[in-house]
Symmetry: C2
Subunit: 259 residues, 2 copies
Amino acid sequence: MLTISQLAAYAGVTVRAVRHYHQIGLLPEPERDSSGYRRYGAAAAVSLIRIRILANAGVPLSQIGQMLEADAPTFAAAVADIDRQLSDEIARLEASRQQIAQLAAGDRLALPPQVIAYLDRLREIGASERVVAGERDGWILMAARWPDRVGDWMPGKIAQLDDPQVVRLYQILSGVFDSDAGDDARLEEAADLIAGLAEQAYASGEIDLGEVGQDDLPFDLLDALAVEADPRLQRLLDLVRERGWAGLARLERLPASPD
Amino acid sequence: MLTISQLAAYAGVTVRAVRHYHQIGLLPEPERDSSGYRRYGAAAAVSLIRIRILANAGVPLSQIGQMLEADAPTFAAAVADIDRQLSDEIARLEASRQQIAQLAAGDRLALPPQVIAYLDRLREIGASERVVAGERDGWILMAARWPDRVGDWMPGKIAQLDDPQVVRLYQILSGVFDSDAGDDARLEEAADLIAGLAEQAYASGEIDLGEVGQDDLPFDLLDALAVEADPRLQRLLDLVRERGWAGLARLERLPASPD
DNA sequence: GCTTGACCTTGACGCTGCGTCAACCCTCCA
DNA sequence: TGGAGGGTTGACGCAGCGTCAAGGTCAAGC
């Protein structure tokens, strides 16, 4: 006959845990000896081990009781379900490892390779380090929050940089943001370019006006972040808005206004 | 400027979580607008996303604050540590998947292959289905509780079955436990065989009398379980004990008694 | 101007799975 | 005989929020 601490040792749990299982009715209370001590048989150890296996797998104690009472097929189905949850959880943790790696990478490497490629291309077309750094910070954020969507966005972004107008746009912006003063003439030119590009993209069907809402979250955030980094971008946003569009990172047509 | 629900949506958390982070000082309280509402900038979204990445990785909120304040090398070290914990946790979950699979397998397959081999070998040497079933239940328990030690035990167990005396022992036990009555003569013979085998093993140095204690847990449990399954084993244990040994699944020499 | 519904506010309790006292009783061994 | 090392119940504490409750606010439509 086992005492509670022996039982706990057999099953690899604490005495407190055993008493807790008694309290919630998961493990039946055994007989007591003359002095009121609980006395267990080996079968209790088996029950307890089964309980621990399920608990370790993340099954709530409240469900374990029902599971152990269920018939074989029901039990097997429940186990299959738990196995699925476990493999999901494993996938989540793997993803989490990647995310913290990106956090630690901070400003250096280990961003998704597509983002690195995009930033390199930006430098090639003559964007200033300041602008590249701004884009990098933005994309660190995007990669952190929407890791599985970055892969969808980047090819389009990289392809854009082949357009001479886009190249020109980044060069103007680099000029403006490397200097200290507001430079309205150049901002106007940039706004013209942006509006022109937006019209083009709209005409060719690239801008899908239907799908607004959910999907704008990331890009709205990018815009807001950019404006906080350099308030002159607010002016640019306003100029773009005057031309009938909204947004920087992704454009929307404004509802027609009585201008 | 963002409201709290917008901020929460950007970061993919609940409003309640954001307020909780304020309460514990993890996220600084922002300015309030005229009606007392919290108003956030985009930078808060970035902070919040960083917090969530760490929290998702399992870092306690109380540590996240310190981590985010730390300098780069300290932060990197902490991240490396978290990564290690994550990979440990993943390993744990993988092991857990195997264990629940064994639970579900119940009496059928999916025991560790070495145990299957052992049970097959038992049948070959003529052990009855009842004895095999008893061993199987015992080893299901062992494999569940001490998964990584079963591999050490089984080769020895399987090798034992090549000894004609061991074969004889299992045949006697099968005979006894398939019948209904107590059969003292055969139990005596079995006890003689066990004691003889133990003496042999002791003489050849296979039984290490030093290492008792911790390592006996599993085998004590096996014995207790066997006795609960068939009380006649208690008689066998007593007979073995009369011959100066203790245990069934693993033997110990008893301290010399004034018999 | 009024209602409605979707937000916002603070405060407080609830949940899981035990850890960790406290205050007391039992048993065993030197 | 006394002290160490078991056992007993009872109660509070912990993280990380979820979930009311009981209001104040904002935007839109009538």
